[in-house]
């Protein structure tokens, strides 16, 4: 399942391979165009999410059974769901959910991952091994299963799914940070700082972390759309946002029994997910191009 499985790990590899090819001017027009599309879509997502907090054409929760399963028309641009609720309004509200999950889940993964990575880098051989094997185990654990178990323990819901996806992202950031730490620790400027009497803590804080921002940001741009996909998947399974509040994934699940009666019902939420993820992916790719090809050389 995309989002909780492949793209994050494999795109790393892809990025590594593509690095030698990113020469300025090469394929520029295509890259340029995809970056623009990505920007437009991502900004669109952001705007939709923010707008829906203040205005939606209808109340996303207002039911009207008599109007159920309408096709797209003037009154309801995207049609209505099986309770007669306006789909457009629900999809707009769903954007808020997706953005929130993306930010918080990646945030959790990043913060916890960074902490663990630093600890692993500094805590001595033994702790390092243990932590990293733990991270490997977590990484090798089928991520969706992990998220499933966590949501089962703490009950389904938006917060639980955010935490679950966050936890799933921790190993990636932890390993990333640790790898960079090992490399950077031996660099000249760090030796110089040490010679000047800086403590290890200062080295980490003033010299190391700022340099780590770049790769972390790049990883965040990969993890963010994956988090959106993951949340959609969990909601589809009923473990994410609970009814009656809309989430793109749960809307898809609700639309499935009505494929014959109202085929368009199932199309809009899925398209929303795809467009949101596509936009973020393209934007992320573009950012990575900008930030420097060297940055993607990590294993």
């Amino acid at each position: 399942m995309a989002g909780l499985t492949p793209a994050s790990g494999t795109t790393e590899i892809v990025a590594t391979e593509l690095a030698p090819l990113r020469r300025p001017g090469w394929r520029k027009s295509f890259t340029h165009r995809s970056l623009v599309i990505g920007l437009v879509l991502t900004v669109g997502l952001l705007l939709t999410a923010l707008t829906s907090l203040f205005y939606t054409p209808y109340d996303p929760l207002a039911m009207n059974i008599a109007d159920r399963l309408q096709r797209p028309a003037a009154a309801h641009w995207f049609g209505t769901d099986h309770y007669g609720r306006d789909l457009l309004s629900r999809i707009m509200r769903g954007a808020t959910v997706s953005m929130t999950v993306g930010i918080i889940a990646v945030g959790i993964g990043l913060v916890v991952g960074v902490v663990l990575g630093v600890v692993a880098g500094y805590a001595g051989r033994w702790a390092d091994e243990v932590l990293m094997r733990g991270m490997d185990a977590l990484y090798g654990f089928p991520a969706i299963l992990l998220a499933l178990l966590i949501t089962s323990v703490f009950g389904p819901g938006l917060s639980t799914s955010m935490v679950a996806i966050g936890i799933v992202n921790v190993p990636v950031f932890a390993r990333l940070l640790r790898a960079n730490l090992l490399v950077l620790r031996e660099r000249d400027f760090v030796a110089a700082a040490r010679a000047l009497g800086a403590t290890e803590g200062e080295v980490v804080w003033r010299h190391f972390l700022p340099n780590a921002v770049s790769p972390l940001l790049v990883q965040a741009t990969i993890s963010f759309p994956n988090a959106i996909l993951a949340e959609a998947g969990l909601s589809y399974l009923g473990l994410g946002m609970q009814p009656p509040h809309p989430s793109w994934g749960s809307m898809l699940k609700e639309a499935q029994p009505f494929l014959r009666l109202a085929p368009t019902y199932a199309i809009f939420p899925g398209a929303a997910i795809a467009l949101a993820v596509l936009g973020c992916n393209l934007l992320g790719d573009g950012l990575r191009d900008v930030l420097d090809p060297k940055v993607s050389q990590r294993r």
């Binding site: 929760l61 039911m63 059974i65 008599a66 494929l259």
Partner: protein, 529 residues
């Protein structure tokens, strides 16, 4: 039983005519019987009679799609309806059973005799009944079964059915006498339920995964996650029956997958779980037939009467007024259900129509709430069980309706195990929506510990009286009162009678047209070419 009295049509709970009648009552019974017959024929006719013409063709395999895989196949240790559906009257039989019309008819007992004071029942078993392992049925099996059901260690889901039994005596190989501590009007009916099936002592261990019974079909295999197969039992005591050679129950949860399987010819019948949207589709298709009938399922909005604010009758009434049942029926089951006004289904002969006791009136709801001290409404938690889509939908619609009068529901969806543990066992809830499939279960309102936590002495006294009354007219009056009391007290909100929807190929015949008990009895079903 000797001679099927006409009075018995649609009579589920009353006594059957017996060898020894209570003399003084004899004429009155006849009169009442005649009257009932007249009413019953007119009412039951359109529901109960299946299409007659084609004579039964023996042979063939019938594949039935059901959504729930049963958690084992032992109906004596689990209340799950999914078990009864597979075993009732197919694999396992009791002394008596219910037929399609909801009548109590003989099964393993050839006849039974009740003493004048109603405290002694003597059952005579049929001749030549064999278990599937070849051993003949004896009265010892009856004694063993009933004693086992009464034993707390067994974990029978409804021990109370047999509580009135004082002693059981085996008179000879075919006769058993059961003595009761007090008259029990529900006794014979309870013996007709799925969890009163007679089992063989030596087969108790395997009952859960390979049941051995006396039914017209025997167990062949259970492919976990896929299906259960049964085959015709050659030594069944009733000649000519069953018609089918094999029956396969396939577990298909997804309504559209069920439909796809039916259309593809992979299954012959969608026995349970035909969703209303699919029923609509199938009805329009000439290659299939759809049965629409009544069940014994009362779908209710259960409220925790022991917990404020639901302990206040004004709040409960307000909620009842605030719910638009027609809209719920339209939204949850596409309009394919009948509303009910109390905890009894229209199939029950004692049913009283109380649908108009509360009409939809959100204004009145708000007034009552203000009176009760909640002018702004309040917040609460609505817990719904995950496996039942119709009840979940009903719950969501109700949440929307209640929000309009200021009652804000937070919806929590629980797995079935959790629902059972938290709501059913511990009453840890505010409000929930559930269908109660057990026939004639209005007695649960007399149990203050039942998850409704409704404690009403008057009601308890009424039920107790009804259980001890063997006179039909008296019972009818009492149950009428009970229904009215429960409805007026707004213990729960009574939504609708769970629809009985079955979709099948045109070649299938003799399927039950109503569901007086959760079962899929295929004894008399056959397939034409």
């Amino acid at each position: 039983m000797r001679g099927r009295s006409s009075k018995a049509v649609c009579d589920m709970a009353g006594q059957r005519p017996l060898a020894k009648e209570m003399d003084g009552m004899r004429w009155r019974r006849w009169l009442v019987g005649l009257l009932m017959f007249g009413l019953a024929v007119g009412w039951c006719d359109r529901h109960s009679w299946a299409a007659m013409p084609t004579p039964p063709t023996p042979g063939g395999t019938l594949t039935i799609a059901v959504p729930d895989e049963p958690p084992g196949l032992d109906p004596t240790t689990s209340p799950a309806a999914a078990i009864a559906r597979i075993v009732y009257n197919n694999l396992l039989e009791g002394l008596v059973k219910l037929n399609m019309q909801g009548e109590i008819v003989r099964a393993l007992a050839e006849r039974y005799v009740v003493s004048i004071d109603g405290m002694e029942y003597t059952f005579t078993l049929r001749q030549g009944v064999k278990f599937h392992n070849g051993r003949p049925l004896t009265a010892d099996d009856v004694k063993f079964t009933l004693e086992r059901n009464l034993d707390p260690q067994t974990g029978h889901p409804h021990r109370n059915y047999y509580e009135s039994i004082r002693d059981i005596e085996v008179i000879d190989a075919r006769t058993v006498r059961i003595g009761l501590a007090k008259p029990d009007a529900m006794f014979v009916f309870n013996l007709a339920r799925a969890n009163s099936a007679i089992i063989a002592k030596e087969e108790v261990e395997r009952l859960k995964s390979h049941p051995i019974g006396t039914g017209p079909f025997q167990f062949v295999e259970w492919v976990r996650g896929d299906r259960i197969s049964l085959a015709k039992f050659k030594d069944y005591y009733e000649p000519g029956v069953p018609y089918l050679d094999r029956v396969v129950f396939r577990f298909i949860q997804d309504p559209s997958a069920q439909l796809a399987a039916l259309r593809a010819g992979d299954v012959d019948v969608i026995g349970v779980g035909l969703s209303p949207e699919s029923a609509i589709e199938l009805k329009a298709d000439p290659a299939f037939q759809v049965i629409e009938g009544l069940t014994t399922t009362d779908v209710i909005v259960a409220m925790n009467n022991g917990k404020p604010p639901f302990s206040d009758i004004r709040v409960r009434k307000a909620i009842t007024y605030a719910i638009n049942r027609d809209e719920v029926i339209k939204g949850a089951v596409f309009g394919m259900a009948k509303p009910i006004g109390s905890h009894m289904d229209p199939l029950n002969p004692y049913y009283v129509d109380l649908n108009h006791l509360y009409e939809y009136d959100p204004h009145k709801a708000e007034q009552l709430l203000a009176e009760a001290g909640y002018p702004q409404g309040f917040e609460f938690v609505l817990r719904l069980a995950e496996p039942y889509m119709a009840y979940r939908r009903a719950g969501e619609i109700i949440a929307g309706q209640l929000a309009k009068v200021g009652l804000k529901a937070k919806i929590e969806i629980l797995e079935w195990g959790q629902w059972l543990a938290r709501i059913y066992r511990q009453a840890d809830y505010d409000m929930t929506v559930m269908g109660h499939a057990e026939p004639f279960d209005i007695g649960i309102y007399a149990n203050a510990q039942y998850y409704f936590r409704y404690d009403n002495r008057t009601l308890r006294a009424l039920i107790k009286e009804a259980d001890a009354t063997l006179d039909d007219a008296k019972r009818r009056a009492i149950y009428g009162e009970v229904q009215r009391l429960i409805a007026e007290d707004a213990v729960n909100v009574f939504l609708y009678n769970g629809p009985y929807l079955v979709g099948m190929q045109k070649t299938v015949h003799n399927w039950w047209t109503n569901l007086p008990i959760p079962a899929i009895d295929v004894t008399r079903v056959y397939k034409s070419k």
